[in-house]
């Protein structure tokens, strides 16, 4: 379903304000924006705006608001739940031209950066001062700070360092009517935590134009270990044992046999061929403490039947180990033409059960499912492998993914660990929250977005018609 054409006068006014680099209309230019990392659904915007300043952003949004035209913000488009899919939304507003570093305050360990600044570039800016920006999604070489705030992004180091909101000191937000808010989130600021509400709101409460981020001192020393297990069950028990020992690893990641197969083919780290599952355990802090912690980790893993435990000896080996993990998704191509990344979370103690359920679901739907997990947080990423040219297999993938998420709910978890609801999981909101809570969420959104022009159809179920896709998409339960 394509959008009705936009008023030519409005487009002219916008072009005059933003300049040629700030406004895209051509078919070829717009194609880039038709989906994010959630590739199962695509929709083309009629217009893409790329304001260069907060004032241009504010004025653009104000013009659209006055004309009653819906719009969707977009960072780098690395999201995987369709959060910036322009479905039934004529205008997309990208932040890629807002990349200024506004302020660096090393003494107080904070920076203010515009929304289009890339996550990893924040760390690069301050690493020579011994600081870094902790939330490190796997997409950090491409994803933007604005997107990180919208999704409350985490990453492998969430276990110790928390997610975006834990490092957020302030936001500059353009409301859906164009008004600009400066929101502070300093300790105890007073009043209501508006910046906290905006964090994780997936672009539905306005457009973030800049953020003040807290920085973390880079630890004195790091120890990265690899432990190999006969299977995911044993690895899960080792995870529990490590946490129970009182350790707070910086990261605690699990990969199963299918993932190991793919990354070994792609990167040749040297994983054992018969590994059922591996844990990557990273500890950081004072050098004096690390050896002791490594001993405790080794004991915990041995007690759970680890066949091998290695410690990366040098930065090169550590980098390769992390490459295997952070680029694991990309390596899936070794196994299958397409894959679908699911994202759910269960209480850590329920990891063995969800792993069993995933196995059953894979068998029931005749699908291969590879497993990557932020095991310390109970955040699972089942990778459902399929061939996108087989519509029947696609349908099974969607059903299996939904069943996995419902299993997460049954085990006391939730339907998203970190990738957000986007457009992908709106149907699962009623299974996750009672009607009163959903109504409260809708009311909250209406405070910021009373005309529902800013990123409609996301998060909460809406009456939007099903967008035609080239593959059948099953609706409701089944």
């Amino acid at each position: 379903m394509s959008n009705p054409p936009l008023d030519a006068g409005l487009v002219t006014r916008l072009r005059r304000m933003l300049g040629e680099e700030g406004l895209l209309t051509g078919e070829a230019a717009l194609r880039v924006y038709e989906c994010d990392g959630y590739t199962l659904e695509k929709a083309r915007p009629s217009l893409v705006l790329l304001p260069a300043t907060t004032q241009e952003m504010s004025r653009s949004v104000e013009l659209l608001h006055k004309a009653g035209i819906a719009f969707v913000p977009r960072g780098a488009g690395t999201g995987v739940s369709g959060g910036c899919l322009p479905a039934d939304i004529p205008v997309m507003i990208g932040t890629s031209r807002m990349q200024r570093i506004r302020r660096v305050d090393i003494d107080n360990r904070r920076v203010e950066v515009e929304a289009g600044v890339v996550n990893l570039d924040v760390t690069r800016l301050v690493e020579s001062d011994g600081l870094h920006y902790a939330p490190d999604p796997s997409s950090q070489a491409a994803c933007t700070i604005g997107g990180n705030v919208a999704e409350n992004s985490g990453g492998p180091h969430t276990l110790k360092y928390g997610v975006t909101v834990n490092h957020l000191l302030g936001l500059e937000l353009v409301l859906p009517d164009g008004e600009v808010l400066q929101l502070s989130r300093e300790a105890g600021s007073g009043g209501f935590d508006l910046a906290g509400v905006v964090t994780g709101s997936e672009g539905t409460l306005g457009i973030i134009t800049s953020a003040t981020l807290a920085l973390v001192k880079t630890p004195q020393a790091v120890a990265t270990m690899l432990a190999v297990f006969p299977g995911v069950l044993e690895a899960s028990r080792a995870v529990s044992a490590i946490i129970a020992a009182g350790l707070v690893p910086a990261a605690l990641e699990m990969m199963d046999a299918l993932v190991i197969e793919a990354v070994e083919a792609a990167y040749g780290f040297g994983f054992p061929a018969d590994a059922g599952a591996v844990l990557i355990i990273e500890l950081d802090g004072l050098a004096a403490a690390l050896d002791e912690q490594c001993v405790q980790v080794t004991e915990a893993c041995n007690e759970q039947g680890a066949s091998e435990i290695r410690r990366a000896d040098d930065p090169r080996e550590r980098a390769l180990l992390w490459k295997s993990r952070k680029r694991a998704f990309g390596a899936m191509g070794r196994l299958s033409p397409s894959y679908c990344t699911q994202d759910g979370v269960v209480p850590r103690s329920a990891l063995p059960q969800i792993v069993e359920r995933i196995g059953e679901i894979g068998r029931r739907y005749k699908l291969r499912i590879a497993n990557i997990m932020h095991a310390g947080d109970g955040n699972i990423h089942p990778l459902l492998l399929y061939d996108e040219n087989d519509p029947e297999e696609v349908a099974r993938v969607l059903d299996a993914g939904r069943d996995i998420l419902l299993a997460c709910l049954e085990l006391g978890g939730s339907v998203t660990g970190e990738h957000g609801i986007g457009i992908e999981k709106t149907e699962l909101m009623p299974a996750s929250f009672g009607p009163a809570t959903l109504a409260a969420m809708a009311d909250l959104r209406e405070v910021f977005n009373p005309r529902a022009l800013c990123n409609p159809h996301k998060i909460l179920p809406s009456d939007r018609h099903c967008v035609e896709v080239t593959r059948p998409r099953p609706r409701g339960g089944g």
Copy 2:
């Protein structure tokens, strides 16, 4: 100004539902509830309700809502910003009869407790399992979890462990119309962070009836040190040096000469008589790391001219040191008939400047001001000493307190570190936030509290008339 009498039929209905223990009307009974820790203003409710269950709470609120009667929630009344002052509010609803432990899950490190459960009792519940509840306000032997959530309470260990919202996994909230919401805050739950918005909302969005709290593993070892300095300036620099060294102390507290004088007289710890300021530095974690960290702390303190550095050798000495800090407020009576605790925050690097400004303000207003600080967070607690029988001195105390908070704002901080806005600081909200942000906060509150019946006149400035107090209270700037 006293409240108009309540409809007798309503009171009868409430008494029938709640029973004799659940409803208080007598003069003597109500006097207890006329103020919290902010004693500069008092107001007596006409009725106090003490529901025993969520259902009773819900039904009570529903009846009041239908009758259009304003109400204010109250935990233990330990707050110091007047958050539960029943000014122009006929009905108070206390949570003291809701003290059930609903669920304990040691494996997943969480508990669900009702709002009236005392903070320290949560830790006592789980400490034999090697866990504790981290947010530890000085009032923790009395304050309740419901109050902690409403105020987003911290405490000395905030520096390392964060505040209440960092440990909050879920809430049960009774909305101002009586509806009950179950709000989850698990990692990535999805949707909007309603529980996060309620945290720190100071009882203005509804009444918390229960909370699911995350527990933290009790560290293997603790090292508590005392460092003595010639003055607050040197101590502040040592604070910066400790943080810059990459350490994350569990606590980093400062007390100045006046405080030391009081606590020494009260508790006889053995502070040196000529100490200008002391730092209490607590480190926790693995035993193997602590000695190294203590060495780094010692170096940092010596570089800033510490005259003495001690490490508490045993639990008894550690307990006495902490008693000196946690009961410091109570010891102020040694110096003065009354004192007013202020609460503000500045960027840590600005601690020396705010200390200077406090000194100037003390001289300007001819007041003695003692200083306690959560120095690692830049959270200051100036204690303004006065005689409450001297109305002119009281007026100077209020002006001086306000000037200190304005100085915090000027230095890039804020008007509350952790005690909240309550009724005490509503006039400072316009100095802290722009009109658009205040409007957004008001709109947010209206989502939850559309008839403004739940704890009105708190946080945001209202049109409420000045409540008569026995001492003059200056209005506006000065």
